[in-house]
């Protein structure tokens, strides 16, 4: 649907652009609480349960964090093709306030868009064109392989961390009118939900997040190939995974996504213990993805482990640079709010690319 507002009304819009989405204009953190609560109510009512307390919340949603993050828009780095007007640039000409170009009038063009002033000066008919703003499809790709269940005693597991990231991103996108979908990935696509714009759809996304149980091996590269083909239009694909696969294999998946004009963002989750490998006692390491066990003295093997880890991280860095994806390496002892803030601000800074 085209936004048919005139250049004059665009001026009003441009003022509100710098503020949060129109719905939340003038609203504060309390409104966010309200939103979360409403979602929960809808969910519980759907399951035929009596309305319970307002305090019933999703474990991975923190209203305070969401309200703080709501100040920064989630923007795409690439032009998106959306069905409705939104906050993201579109490859097509539209009717935003941002002038794009003059075009010669051809019969059939709406006479209202004819630039009379230009006609007055040059005696020729020109049509003034504007950039189009549109909404985007946010496809969350959540790795639910066994390895995502890793956690140390006092820290969050990677899947918990991934849930929080996904939920926050989904919520933020939904709030600015974008469609949100999710795919849980392990040995294949375990669960998938195509992007929709409705708040009720977001609730389903949260359901999937809540029910996601890490198990089985990772086949992330194959699934990304599949998703690149199945997501119909340009989308923001956010991959949240520990990426324990060969970076070179991943590279081709990322290239595939880019080829399909998807904007790819990756949150690479690593547990601090996986990086430091600080163990003192001989340990039997059980593979969380079911590939047997290794008995070793970590003190012995630490230097070689670090060597392998270093070369992996180097390779990953190279792949990221080559693929041009938005890559965030995240240690799970970091606050996810900070990670997200960094992510959002980074993307907002890149705004303006068409």
């Amino acid at each position: 649907m085209r936004n048919r507002s005139s250049p004059g009304s665009s001026m009003r819009r441009s003022r509100s652009r710098s503020e949060p989405h129109g719905k939340q204009a003038g609203s504060g953190p309390n409104d966010v609480h309200e939103q979360v609560r409403v979602h929960n109510q809808v969910r519980f009512q759907k399951q035929g349960e009596p309305m319970i307390s307002d305090r019933q919340t999703r474990s991975f949603l923190d209203p305070a964090v969401l309200s703080r993050l709501a100040g920064v828009p989630l923007l795409a780095r690439k032009p998106m093709v959306g069905g409705v007007s939104g906050r993201h640039t579109s490859p097509h000409r539209g009717s935003s306030v941002e002038f794009a170009e003059y075009r010669k009038y051809v019969p059939g063009d709406d006479l209202r868009r004819l630039d009379w002033r230009a006609f007055g000066r040059s005696d020729r008919f020109y049509v003034k064109e504007y950039e189009a703003d549109t909404n985007l499809r946010l496809c969350l790709v959540l790795d639910t392989s066994g390895s995502m269940n890793f956690s140390v005693e006092d820290g969050p597991s990677k899947i918990d961390y991934a849930r929080r990231l996904s939920a926050a991103l989904g919520y933020l996108a939904s709030q600015q009118g974008d469609a949100v979908g999710i795919s849980c990935v392990a040995d294949g696509i375990v669960k998938t939900l195509p992007p929709r714009r409705s708040p009720a759809h977001l609730r389903l996304v949260f359901d999937i997040l809540e029910e996601a149980a890490p198990a089985g091996p990772t086949r992330l590269p194959e699934v990304l190939h599949e998703l690149a083909e199945t997501i119909r239009q340009r989308a923001l694909v956010v991959v949240i995974s520990d990426l324990f696969v060969d970076p070179d294999i991943l590279a081709s998946s990322f290239s595939h996504l880019r080829f399909r004009h998807h904007d790819v963002a990756v949150f690479h989750l690593l547990d601090p213990l996986e990086v430091s490998f600080a163990f003192q006692r001989p340990t039997r390491f059980l593979d969380m993805e079911g590939a047997g066990s290794i008995f070793t003295d970590p003190v012995d093997i630490a230097d070689r482990y670090h060597q392998a880890m270093n070369s992996y991280l180097e390779a990953m860095k190279r792949v990221v640079l080559e693929s041009g994806i938005d890559y965030s390496r995240v240690l799970t002892d970091e606050s996810y709010e900070q990670v997200l803030a960094r992510f959002l601000v980074g993307r907002a800074a890149g705004r303006g690319l068409r």
Binding site: E289, A291, Y305, L331
Partner: protein, 670 residues
């Protein structure tokens, strides 16, 4: 290795403690679900050669440390070089002792001489070795001494010091003979020596034969050389090189030439030399700057009342080797210089008679007897000093007489016959005359020793001025004393006491007679050598030359020398001995004073291909070869622990670890 506390060794299984701890440690592992398996797998796949080696080394060092502690607590005794014997008990242990005077050297700090230290260490070692039989060989001429008690070596007179150099090749030959005769089993030959060149005669060709002989023995023979090769420090040796009696007016004078030598160059010093004659001692200071100082022609007036014959002693103050601080000498009126001339040519006879009968000094008496070759056997050979023989070489009984004469110490100089015959005497024979149209002149001759050596004043004999017209060639081994061009011998020595001249003094053959100095010197020196041996007062080197003392039928009285000398050891100790007619001074041979030590490699080379070990000993070392060595084990333990600590040291952190800071953009920015 033996232990004073062998019970402590029962705790040796504790060595396995690190291994057990390691195994227990392995048992108490933790199980952990792990996500980043791909890194573990690739880490496992990486080479871990050094890491594995390091682990094994750490384990080994820990076990070594425990073993060292246990062994140290067990108080081990080291048999040191005995361990090298391989632990097998030999059937026979043969001890070869070097009893030469140089073995009496001692260090400044300790009173034990090399010989005493060596004997003590040998006794301890042999007791530890526990061979079935022990045999002592100190004299190649004597029968090997079978010992019932090894400890006897320490105080056996037959193992005591002598003035005789040790003839190592002969001693080893004696050991070999004993081994073959006694059909001994596995044997060990222990040699205690100070590696003096003159004792070992390493350049002697017999060594090859000895080596082969031992190598061919069916039984296993091991050689252990206990070597005391430290050179003597500031050791001085004294020696009388010449004694001469001369009449001066009414009285007589003894002229002595005394040499003081040392083995290394040193500072200029003054050495008090004490000369003692007939109980009267006088001390003369001798300036010693290089290696040798000679007190030349020191004149001592003799007491008129005393007989013409006498003896004396030259001595030095005590130093590191007492055995070479004394030298005995005897003197007597020179006896008549009796010479026998045998010559077929009358001219020759005349010339030889002439040069023999003019004594070199006016006090000396000379007598020449001219005999025919056939009558030679009946001549008074006992009193004759030299024989000048011109004519065909002696044969039959005459030859035997000449050999006996030479064997007693007489000197023979042969001149060629007019017609050479096939007769061979002492391995040499005259071949044929060669005429030289142009007179030949000698091109080289030995100026350092023997008949043509330089005169006492240092000038060379005018051998080069002789003109030789004819020479008679010689076949057989000889040492040339003077050579004409083309190596034609003019003078040569065939054996001890037998010399020859390749031409004759006749005018037709040479100018030996007209340039008479050379002929005179040769003949008088031959007579001198004969007189020195046959005279009534004789200087003898200890050893085989002094065997006369041991001969049956003559009773020698000891005037000075070791009191506890065995009859069988006569002639092996320094001293002065007399019979009614003769006076003999026995001293160490001159080579003992040279102090040249054979290099280790040289000695080792003599035993190549044989089982041989050289152990360095030090004179006066009070510790026995068997000693407690627990300190060494403690040091081993400390070293093992230090090594273990170094290996266990953690690597500097952050070298291989991924930089955590780099993973957090916020920190990286900071």
């Amino acid at each position: 290795m033996t232990f004073l506390q062998p019970l402590m060794l029962a705790s040796l299984p504790l060595v396995a403690l690190p291994l057990i701890i390691h195994l227990i440690n392995q048992r108490r592992f933790q199980t952990l679900p792990w996500a980043a398996m791909m890194f573990l797998l690739s880490a496992k796949a990486m080479s871990r050669g050094y890491s594995r080696l390091r682990n094994w080394l750490i384990m080994a060092l820990r076990m070594l440390a425990i073993a060292a502690v246990i062994l140290a607590v067990s108080r081990p005794l080291s048999r040191g070089w005995l361990a090298l014997a391989g632990g097998a008990r030999p059937d026979t242990a043969i001890v070869i002792l070097d009893r030469s005077p140089s073995m009496q050297q001692r260090t400044a700090a300790v009173a034990d001489t090399k010989l005493e230290t060596g004997r003590r260490q040998l006794v301890e070692s042999l007791i530890a070795l526990g061979a079935s039989r022990h045999v002592l060989i100190t004299d190649p001429a004597a029968e090997p001494l079978e010992l019932s008690d090894v400890a006897a070596i320490a105080d056996l007179p037959a193992a005591g010091p002598t003035a005789v150099p040790a003839d190592m090749p002969l001693l080893l030959q004696a050991a070999y003979d004993h081994l073959t005769k006694s059909s001994a089993g596995t044997s060990e030959i222990w040699i205690c020596s100070d590696q003096r060149s003159n004792d070992w005669a390493a350049e002697n060709g017999v060594w090859g034969g000895i080596r082969d002989a031992f190598a061919r023995l069916p039984q296993q023979v091991r050689f252990q050389l206990l070597s005391f090769r430290d050179p003597a420090e500031a050791n001085l040796a004294v020696r009388v090189t010449e004694t001469r009696i001369a009449r001066r007016g009414d009285g007589r004078e003894l002229t002595l030439t005394v040499a003081v030598t040392r083995q290394q160059d040193g500072e200029r010093t003054t050495v008090p030399v004490t000369i003692e004659i007939g109980g009267v001692a006088s001390t003369i200071d001798v300036d010693l700057s290089g290696r040798e100082a000679v007190l030349k022609n020191h004149v001592i007036p003799l007491d008129r009342a005393a007989g013409s014959r006498g003896w004396g002693r030259v001595s030095l103050p005590g130093d590191s080797n007492a055995a070479d601080n004394d030298f005995y000498f005897v003197f007597d009126e020179p006896s008549t210089r009796r010479t026998i001339v045998v010559a077929e040519d009358s001219s020759c006879r005349r010339w030889l008679q002439l040069v023999a009968e003019i004594p070199p000094e006016k006090d000396l008496k000379a007598a020449v007897e001219v005999v025919e070759a056939e009558a030679f056997a009946t001549a008074a050979l006992d009193e004759t000093a030299a024989v000048l023989w011109q004519g065909p070489l002696p044969t039959g009984k005459t030859a035997e007489s000449v050999e006996a004469f030479v064997g007693r110490g007489g000197q023979v100089v042969f001149f060629p016959p007019e017609t050479p015959t096939e007769t061979v005497f002492a391995g040499f024979t005259w071949k044929e005359w060669e005429n030289h149209p142009r007179p030949l002149k000698a091109v080289s001759w030995r100026t350092d020793q023997d008949l043509l050596s330089n005169a006492m004043a240092g000038g060379a004999l005018p051998v080069g001025e002789l003109e030789i017209l004819r020479t008679c060639s010689v076949a057989g081994d000889h040492v040339p004393l003077a050579s004409l061009p083309d190596s034609v011998p003019l003078f040569g020595r065939v054996a001890n006491g037998i010399a020859f001249c390749g031409t004759r003094p006749t005018a037709r053959d040479s100018t030996l007679a007209s340039e008479g100095v050379v002929l005179y010197a040769v003949v008088q020196r031959a007579i001198d050598q004969g007189v020195a041996v046959l005279g009534t007062a004789r200087q003898l080197d200890a050893g085989p030359a002094a065997d006369v003392l041991g001969k049956a039928g003559v009773e020698w009285r000891r005037l000075v020398g070791p009191a506890d000398m065995l009859a069988t050891e006569a002639g092996k100790h320094a001293g002065v001995f007399e019979t009614d007619e003769r006076l003999v001074a026995i001293n160490r041979p001159a080579a003992e004073d040279a102090g040249v030590i054979a290099a280790d490699e040289r000695i080792d080379g003599l035993f190549r291909d044989l089982t041989y070990t050289r152990i360095a000993g030090t004179a006066g070392r009070s510790d026995s070869l068997v000693q407690e060595i627990w300190r060494a084990f403690l040091i081993v333990m400390v070293l093992a622990l230090v090594g273990e600590g170094l290996l266990c040291m953690p690597k500097p952190a952050g070298k291989s670890r991924p930089a955590m800071a780099g993973l957090r953009p916020a920190e990286a920015a900071a």
